[in-house]
């Protein structure tokens, strides 16, 4: 992208940074236009940013707190509320002594970002805009050797039309920690650009469930960079259902032996929504496992993208990597793009991938109807089954019903619209 293409958004960012952070030169490198995706960029081929770039979106510096609804999914969870990208202590639950939120400088997480030395990450608009524009960088610090019974629910709220908000969170997990985190994305923003950095130290387990449910017309370009140390385990699940354009992009670096990462997700897309799950897993050391399993249900004129990449370095023998995408199309106007990629330099590995796209199975619908179940109800049963399989595979048992319920309204809408 260059300025002749009328990159309004970028020039708004530049002005914003120069006005509000004139004395913070460490932000400047991230404002370099050359580091932003171009339309020819392979990583953005199926999810075009031209429309966003031309929009007159301004970074939000005002504190706009109307319509703040905090709907916890788990009664006894610990909520951390971010409004317009800023941590709101007053709206959040009191933190137990084992958890702390502190402000950090770019230097504290730069080293982690630099471990992802590729264009996918370096040219990512969220990495660049959020490091340039985020007011403060927050780190959540967990105490070592603690198994947290209460899950954490992080809420990303706020925003107004034609503004961008830039939440930043650095989750730094020391050794032997076990924690479950829900991430809610429910903003009204023109653009939500959340940058999350995760460091999982030895023998720690993080289960993270991301629920993308931003309001109509909003863009969400979520970027998560995770580094996993030995014997640590990241279990990530994304449910994408909201917004006009949502891309959940995760880069996961398996840096310690015997570590594991499951980067799974579901997208439910209707109307003219565009949903994108992009995941890259880098196996840099031997004896690690990863899976990237994605399922989607598409209706009306929705488009969806799954890009999964596994890179296995020469050193990373005995890697086990699995990749799979399955999409059900409820409409012939919907479009699904699936791009699985394996880049393997080691010779003793087990890697598998596959992708299917199709309508609901007519034989299955007929079988159910022949038992007295209406065609409409048969479709609900089959989609539920399709998603349930995924939910049981991807997340802890005790959260199944909660996540299943989160899919329910959307599925009913998808099927109702099909019959209109």
């Amino acid at each position: 992208m260059n300025k002749t293409r009328n990159d309004q958004f970028f020039s708004n960012l530049e002005k914003f940074v120069n006005k509000f952070y004139p004395n913070q030169p460490q932000r400047q490198p991230y404002l370099n236009l050359k580091t932003w995706p171009s339309p020819r960029d392979e990583a953005w081929k199926f999810s075009r940013l031209g429309k966003l770039a031309r929009k007159n979106i301004l970074p939000l510096n005002l504190e706009n707190q109307k319509d703040i609804n905090i709907n916890k999914l788990i009664k006894d969870s610990i909520s951390l509320v971010f409004v317009n990208g800023k941590f709101e202590k007053k709206l959040s639950d009191k933190l137990p002594s084992e958890i702390a939120i502190e402000e950090v400088q770019i230097e504290h997480f730069k080293e982690i970002i630099n471990k992802f030395d590729n264009l996918f990450v370096k040219s990512h608009p969220t990495l660049n805009s959020t490091i340039s524009c985020s007011k403060k960088f927050f780190k959540i610090k967990f105490k070592n050797d603690v198994k947290f019974d209460r899950p954490i629910e992080i809420f990303n709220l706020g925003g107004t039309e034609n503004t961008s908000i830039h939440p930043f969170i650095f989750m730094d997990l020391g050794k032997n920690i076990d924690v479950k985190v829900f991430q809610h994305y429910s903003t009204y923003a023109g653009l939500l650009a959340p940058l999350e950095i995760i460091n999982l130290s030895k023998n720690s387990n993080l289960e993270i469930i991301k629920i993308y449910d931003d309001k109509k017309n909003s863009y969400n370009l979520s970027l998560t960079l995770s580094v996993i140390q030995e014997e640590a385990n990241l279990r990530s699940f994304a449910l994408i259902k909201g917004g006009e354009f949502t891309r959940s992009e995760m880069h996961t670096l398996l840096e310690g032996e015997n570590s594991k990462a499951d980067i799974n997700g579901i997208y439910l897309s209707s109307g003219n929504q565009h949903h994108d799950l992009t995941s890259c897993v880098y196996h840099n050391v031997p004896n690690c496992k990863s899976s990237q399993i994605v399922k989607g249900v598409l209706g009306e004129e929705a488009t969806a993208v799954f890009q999964g990449k596994v890179r296995v370095e020469k050193l990373a023998q005995k890697t086990e990597a699995k990749q799979m995408s399955r999409t059900i199309m409820l409409s012939d106007k919907a479009v699904s793009n699936s791009k699985p990629e394996l880049e393997i330099y080691a010779d003793d590995v087990i890697c598998g991938h596959g992708a299917t796209v199709g309508e609901l199975d007519e034989d299955q619908i007929f079988y159910l109807s022949s038992r007295g179940i209406s065609k409409q109800k048969a479709k609900v049963i089959l989609i539920d089954a399709f998603l349930n399989e995924m939910i049981s595979l991807s997340i802890s048992d005790k959260f199944h019903d909660i996540i299943y319920n989160e899919t329910k309204t959307k599925i009913n809408n998808l099927l109702a619209n099909e019959y209109e």
Partner: protein
């Protein structure tokens, strides 16, 4: 007035005529067997009766208890009391067998205007019915037909039949893929459900099944029509002499 009346049914698939003027009357309390060589249109007949998309009649009529079946969808036909035991039961990964059975059982109850059973009462009822068909609890915990053996799939079909208590059941090659023990269990299941108010149509290649499920009337089907009907002895004759003699008689 027959319970099921098929008159001059003609049906094509991809412009190829499969049923060519088939007629069949089935009365309450009767068991019919339809036999015939491969490609005679037996499975087409069963899909046509169940109302599968793409199996609509070109000509002819079907009535069930005086109701025209042609405009009705598969679920509406099922609600009226028509049941098809599939030759190849369909796997439903992700759909738990118990939930599926409860769903179909209660939707039938609802249609009949009877009270639905609570989860606990249904489980009790299901256990009893399943036991009679030698179906273990473990099987009911699995997904519908998913990873079932051939015999398990067929028993699961009869289990559904027992729960739905249909007025007329079409068993499409329910004997295929069954060993003798499984054949006995399945046949006993069918016989136990049989009474003077309902009817069964058994579609089969072989006489073997008819040793266990005794037909009142045997029909020979060939080239999309019923070409000969008789009593149970007709099946024995086929078993001994094959189809060719009867087919030649026709020509």
């Amino acid at each position: 007035m027959p319970m099921l009346e098929i008159k001059n049914a003609e049906l094509s698939i991809d412009d190829k005529k499969i049923l060519k003027g088939l007629s069949l009357n089935v009365n309450e309390g009767e068991t019919h067997a339809i036999m015939g060589p491969n490609g005679s249109g037996k499975s087409t007949l069963s899909y046509m009766l169940a109302g599968r998309d793409g199996y609509e009649l070109d000509n002819g009529s079907i009535t069930f208890n005086n109701i025209d079946l042609i405009p009705l969808s598969p679920d509406e036909r099922s609600n009226l009391g028509l049941f098809l035991a599939f030759q190849y039961p369909v796997e439903l990964p992700g759909v738990s067998s118990t939930n599926f059975l409860r769903e179909i059982f209660n939707s039938r109850k609802k249609y009949l205007g009877e009270d639905e059973l609570t989860h606990l009462d249904f489980i009790k009822h299901l256990r009893k019915v399943a036991q009679n068909l030698s179906i273990k609890d473990e099987m009911l915990k699995r997904y519908v037909n998913y990873g079932f053996s051939g015999g398990e799939k067929k028993r699961f079909e009869i289990l559904q039949m027992a729960l739905l208590n249909p007025k007329i059941s079409v068993l499409d090659e329910t004997d295929s893929g069954l060993d003798v023990d499984a054949l006995k269990i399945v046949s006993e299941g069918v016989n136990n459900l049989k009474d003077k108010k309902n009817a069964v149509i058994v579609i089969t290649h072989y006489q073997r099944l008819l040793d266990y499920i005794k037909p009142d009337i045997v029909h020979i089907m060939s080239d999309g029509k019923i070409i000969k009907s008789g009593d149970a002895d007709l099946a024995l004759y086929i078993e001994k002499n094959g189809y060719s003699e009867i087919l030649n008689e026709q020509n």
